[in-house]
Symmetry: D3
Amino acid sequence: MAPHRALTAAWDADRPAIGGWITTGSEMLIEAYGAAGYDYVGIDCQHSTFDERDAAQVLRRLPACPFAMFVRVSKNDPALIGRVVDAGAEGVIVPMVDTAQEAAAAVAAIRFPPEGQRSFGPGRADMGTTTDAIESRVSLFVMIETTDGLANVEEICAVPGLTGVYVGPGDLSVSLGLAPMDGFSTDQIEGPLATIRAAATAHDVVLGIHSAGGADAARWARLGCRLISLGSDMALFRAATVADRNTALDV
Amino acid sequence: MAPHRALTAAWDADRPAIGGWITTGSEMLIEAYGAAGYDYVGIDCQHSTFDERDAAQVLRRLPACPFAMFVRVSKNDPALIGRVVDAGAEGVIVPMVDTAQEAAAAVAAIRFPPEGQRSFGPGRADMGTTTDAIESRVSLFVMIETTDGLANVEEICAVPGLTGVYVGPGDLSVSLGLAPMDGFSTDQIEGPLATIRAAATAHDVVLGIHSAGGADAARWARLGCRLISLGSDMALFRAATVADRNTALDV
Amino acid sequence: MAPHRALTAAWDADRPAIGGWITTGSEMLIEAYGAAGYDYVGIDCQHSTFDERDAAQVLRRLPACPFAMFVRVSKNDPALIGRVVDAGAEGVIVPMVDTAQEAAAAVAAIRFPPEGQRSFGPGRADMGTTTDAIESRVSLFVMIETTDGLANVEEICAVPGLTGVYVGPGDLSVSLGLAPMDGFSTDQIEGPLATIRAAATAHDVVLGIHSAGGADAARWARLGCRLISLGSDMALFRAATVADRNTALDV
Amino acid sequence: MAPHRALTAAWDADRPAIGGWITTGSEMLIEAYGAAGYDYVGIDCQHSTFDERDAAQVLRRLPACPFAMFVRVSKNDPALIGRVVDAGAEGVIVPMVDTAQEAAAAVAAIRFPPEGQRSFGPGRADMGTTTDAIESRVSLFVMIETTDGLANVEEICAVPGLTGVYVGPGDLSVSLGLAPMDGFSTDQIEGPLATIRAAATAHDVVLGIHSAGGADAARWARLGCRLISLGSDMALFRAATVADRNTALDV
Amino acid sequence: MAPHRALTAAWDADRPAIGGWITTGSEMLIEAYGAAGYDYVGIDCQHSTFDERDAAQVLRRLPACPFAMFVRVSKNDPALIGRVVDAGAEGVIVPMVDTAQEAAAAVAAIRFPPEGQRSFGPGRADMGTTTDAIESRVSLFVMIETTDGLANVEEICAVPGLTGVYVGPGDLSVSLGLAPMDGFSTDQIEGPLATIRAAATAHDVVLGIHSAGGADAARWARLGCRLISLGSDMALFRAATVADRNTALDV
Amino acid sequence: MAPHRALTAAWDADRPAIGGWITTGSEMLIEAYGAAGYDYVGIDCQHSTFDERDAAQVLRRLPACPFAMFVRVSKNDPALIGRVVDAGAEGVIVPMVDTAQEAAAAVAAIRFPPEGQRSFGPGRADMGTTTDAIESRVSLFVMIETTDGLANVEEICAVPGLTGVYVGPGDLSVSLGLAPMDGFSTDQIEGPLATIRAAATAHDVVLGIHSAGGADAARWARLGCRLISLGSDMALFRAATVADRNTALDV
Ligand SMILES: [Mg+2]
Ligand SMILES: [Mg+2]
Ligand SMILES: [Mg+2]
Ligand SMILES: [Mg+2]
Ligand SMILES: [Mg+2]
Ligand SMILES: [Mg+2]
């Protein structure tokens, strides 16, 4: 339940933890994020074509990262969450959490009895041998991205064992009847974000959020977010390909 | 929620939409169905050895099909349905639906708030950018293949947002205490099929069905079915291998 | 629902059925277990990096084993259970079963209507053609590995259609507040095991258990266990590599 | 060097051995050919998207086939040939052989010293333990499909250890300045085929040929060919999809 | 032998053709290059962890690209070259060509008899049906990157059927006793490049070159190169990750 | 060209370097060998179902091993050797080397110009940046396993840049007309081994050999071998499964 040292190092330096976001599944891109000094890398099993099994196979091979490996699971499901934490995920992001009960179920999936219901079966030698050691290496974030989640954010933030909340600007916008992509680039969710921030602050949990890239991330940082994922590998690569071609052709 | 143009073209021509059925997972066989003029191809994630993640990887690579890509998911689960529609599935077939509530949950998995609970994350550039555009490209069929489903077919057909019902002759036969394979080749489910057809007609939803091949399909067509999957890639290939060998040996 | 002939042969010889345990996913190691005379091989989809889809692909290729193929699924889920039994699994082990209701749901996942809710779709030619033949080739074990499961073991053993219970010494220890690995090597769960054995005997279901290797297994056998998995492929290989290196270097 | 019993059974029955041809790589299609009574199945590593490594992985899993497994390798290369025979291939077809020296090199790749240069490393338990047993289970065909090969066919057929020659109507046509696909459907290569047949007969080696399907195969059989591959999995499937759709739509 | 229309369009517009370079194997990154307006994408089978078989599988799925797909093969080998052109490669880059004889062998691998020795077996429906159509869609570049190749560049450029020469600044530097990476960023190979350009111009073949990115590419363009690959997917992604993180943290 | 520190540490301790041998391709088994203190692990691309591309993918993911990673390539081919050394292999074993010329070609494949012909393209960040650094991290062994190789062993050992010779008892036996498996377990090749050892000693290159397991290895060590691979992962696992089952059943 203690955040990875790469995250706490960022916070100790009074800056947000910055994450890369993997939608291609490529291990080489994960390594590139790490080499560039990102504090964590998030593998997305929800909006991608791979799943928690694929993430687990990648995770098992990356035992000694100086950065934290997060997984956004596709569903609030203890078997899927168990698979990725067994494989070494240091953070889990659970999408579409609407209630404190759902948040508590997510926490129970990463904690052993009596606090939770996780099954014992660590998959890597370097994860520790006691239940305390094994469960303490995982952070748990639930996504606030629906009107229900927003309405219940106070109770959600009060769930014991939660590391933080993670805002999904796209889905939150849709749920509020707004255009999804504008959630990233405009101020349309700044009001709800202030509500969420207040709840997170009151309960001393981390406020995280997704961004569409570095410029947006800087804005989210100014608005108090402490864990910020930068767009995605594909978004970054697309922009880079355009820019490099323009340089080559001098246009 | 609007059927793919390949389906409506068939219906405009006053004939059923004809589908191929993939149980091998082979992309080359998908392409062969398409080249042969099938209106849709269904990838079966329920009774096969691959899953929705595999289907999603195939779907992501097939952006510009002139035919519709359907997936039969293994379960009425919003994460699994979300995975295949994010990857571009134009139709989803949900097995073993017993009640209107279950049918409504399936619809909610392909529609965004406020009508549904789908999470926003289209995986291909050609899927549109608005929630309306993205959700409107997917058809949703629920399978009527249990005695419960049969009993509730009227309420199921009335669920808003449903494209149609899809009859599973094998499981429906089992549920009725009959031999599964006879469901395809005999008239043993024609009575229940009439009941389902009446409900579909009353609520103006499409009546679909699985067949064991072209000859059966012609019978289902005469009985009013408008979306008919022809057996499977393996059934077709098995018959073809026998016939071609006989031709070669002149037997 | 009838155990595989390899299991009954062991029991007829008045010895426990001995199983190998696959956590690497390697088909070559499965074959090695079989060649060594193991009565069954269990593919673990819960505490490994592969899933039921991977297990199904392996199973489909192994039609004519003289030993039984078991799968421990990651979750008590009819779609996941259906996938592996369609592919030919002769035994299913369901983890973390707490109540008779959960055990009954697991049984329903391998039985066709009217007794259960399994969907018809056998994936191999050698599995039989009738629902009776197809369902009769699968054994179903539920894991007793929580304090709840222990408290309800009498009712669980009474569930019709259950082949047996399978004790998880690690999770049971955790649930009892004890060190997980000591569950294998000490007598700390012998009291609970006696309770479980009594319930299994009373209801004439098989008592199975996981062991950390041959020596532990011999102890479990003396304590009345009739189906015993030996550690895992990795545990076995690790010990063998150390021993062979020592032999080579004469140390 | 002794043909597989499935081939000799065909010849004993005074009919050609009939083969299926795999270009998709699908193991399920291989099994379908076998179930349909084909005498051999050829995996094509030359004109496909998979290679000898993929073929080897499929072969290793198919130890007890009643039919023979052949591989057309992509090149006359002892490492590639060694890979597939180690994995259990019972026949090897080597493309584009122009000279007796090249044919002898192909033979050397499947025979151990002193006759050949194959390296010892059988990959399956059922292949035998002596070099004689292991090498005797493999047939070797070289393709005659160039003007050079045609000119040298007499010397090629005289190479010790050769099982037969295998005619490629497409490439042979190209090499003769003719349209490749007409090589299958017209009589344009019947003259060269007569030359090849005479050489094969004189040296008592088997005359094999590729066909575009059963009807062509019957013609090749009448022209004296004794080992005939029927088109390909894809050609067969394409034709079957068209026919079945027509049946369904009654067109 | 006619360059892809995307290349000729660039040259008609009096600018070099610009290519992206794939070392990760990711199909999503290939698509991103295409969407960004690159004229071709080169899949590197030489200095990567994948091979021609992997490239062929990607190529087969990309039939209707508006950009050209190139493959750098790992070796001047007709089987490897045949594999990728059968799968649809529109350009082949052959590394380490030292002599005109080697260049002629590379040309022979993409041309059918009588000009070459390619075997007939197109793998996609859209490649044409005649040998002329099929071979005319492929460009062939040989790499000049050794002192031998440099010494023989005049004869190499004179080989009939060659589309162009492609300079490898790293290997050419090593061969000249210079530091490999300085080949990209300094003027150390400008002298040899002038020699190569003169030969290419004299024989009217295209001068291509590898660059480390857009800035270098602009320099190569000014020095007369007409086909320029920009660094690699990984180099581009690495730089982009650093820049985006800096933007996020405002450093 | 300098052996990995794990090897020199063994030799400094006056004991042979001990290696594990991978024929399954499993990364988990590689890690187990390493954890057990083996000095190197050899991935076999010759007598297995995987190839150099698969080995390269495994190698790229194992950057910080405390043990050395070796690959036995399938063939003396610079493209295949280049692929695995680019991916980080610290040792290459080349099979079936008959002459000094072949040995020199193998050395040239791992050395850059002017000494060799390796193409520059290191695939991992930790391999160094200069050609000297990159080539110095690779050891090169050629296999002496034919009568020709044995006859030429003196000249082979004299090839500059060679790290050592590696004896293949199975193939050497076959080449000598002896039973292959007896090469491991009897003294039948001790005479030829003495010849090879003398040549290795004279030219100060390392004498390596394959063994069938620890007991054989101890014998080879007594006979002067300094680099000894222990059987294979499968041989080790097979023996362990038998022993553990016997322990469990007390037989
Ligand atoms: Mg979201
Ligand atoms: Mg059904
Ligand atoms: Mg457990
Ligand atoms: Mg040919
Ligand atoms: Mg180069
Ligand atoms: Mg050998």
